[in-house]
């Protein structure tokens, strides 16, 4: 990879590449899986990947604004999980399934 990507000298580039890798894994999970709970977990992986990128740039630029932003992202993720999981429970009681291919009544073809 050249001198900008020395494998044994851990730089911000390593953290960013790890972040991109985790984000792609999470996005692939959202596309592959059909279980709504697992899709929710994959979205959490993607959020964490973005958090790694924010902290990596923040530390690399000698600031801590990125870290404060990660704090807000974690707070929003907590609110999102509370609302999302209660919606999933209501959905399961209504439809008796969590397969997102079968939960398509908003399309109007129920």
């Amino acid at each position: 990879m050249g001198e900008s990507m020395n494998l044994m000298n851990i730089t911000q580039t390593h953290y960013i590449v790890l972040s991109v890798l985790l984000f792609c894994i999470g996005a692939a999970g959202v596309l592959i899986r059909r279980n709504a709970i697992v899709i929710f977990l994959c979205v959490e992986i993607m959020l964490n990947a973005v958090n790694i990128a924010l902290v990596a740039f923040s530390r690399g630029l000698d600031q801590n604004r990125g870290e404060v932003f990660v704090f807000f992202v974690i707070a929003v993720a907590a609110a999102e999980s509370a609302i999302g999981l209660s919606l999933l429970i209501l959905l399961f009681r209504q439809k008796k399934t969590l397969d997102v291919d079968e939960i398509n009544s908003l399309k109007g073809n129920l």
Binding site: M5, V17, N35, N48, I52, L61, D62, S81, D99
Partner: protein, 194 residues
């Protein structure tokens, strides 16, 4: 000088250990057929990412990561998975669309290759030429990471911080409103007594 040589040897080892654990357990989250195994693997991912944060020098975020993500959110998720008591038949129909899954994997691998090859040179160049701030590692060692983090949070970001509490209140009220419809009046104890 001996300790710096030791640190420069240990840092890559720790980084690759945590990174490999995070990536492998993230893959296990996708591959596991049982959502409960996915959730437990995700806890492992969160702990590995917390280790990465400590390695980067962001201990504050590592603490929040373990407290909020691995502690609160994952307990909620595992509780909901057990509460729903999904039948085993629901686990079988995960990989029925092989073509779609393969396409997603190929597309995401290509996306990773493109972005990583762009960033592998771009980030280093950007870090060299960008304007640096004042929160260096030396400043954190002198004043403490929590002090500097809190100073930024309670001065520069005070309004977003207060709005966060408003957001959490809205989330709590929203959950209560959502769940209230589940409690039917005839099923509750007062209804039976009537």
């Amino acid at each position: 000088m001996d300790s710096t040589a030791l640190i420069s040897f240990i840092k890559p080892v720790v980084f690759y250990t945590f990174a490999a654990t995070a990536v492998l357990s993230a893959i296990m989250v996708i591959v596991s057929k049982n959502p409960l195994y996915s959730a437990v693997n995700l806890v492992l991912t969160f702990f590995s990412i917390a280790g990465i944060y400590v390695l980067m020098g962001a201990e504050v975020i590592a603490v929040f990561q373990i407290l909020v993500y691995a502690g609160a959110i994952m307990v909620l998720v595992i509780f909901v998975i057990m509460f729903l008591n999904l039948r085993p038949s629901l686990f079988k129909i995960q990989f029925k669309h092989v073509f779609r899954s393969g396409l997603a994997v190929v597309f995401m691998t290509a996306l990773f290759a493109i972005i990583a090859s762009l960033f592998s040179k771009g980030v280093g160049v950007y870090m060299e030429h960008a304007q640096k701030g004042e929160i260096t590692q030396a400043a954190i060692d002198a004043e403490g990471g929590f002090q500097l983090f809190s100073r930024a949070l309670f001065t520069e970001f005070l309004l977003p911080f207060e709005l966060t509490s408003l957001l959490l209140t809205v989330a709590i009220i929203g959950v209560v409103v959502l769940i209230r419809g589940m409690i039917k009046p005839g099923v509750s104890k007062k209804g039976q007594e009537k």
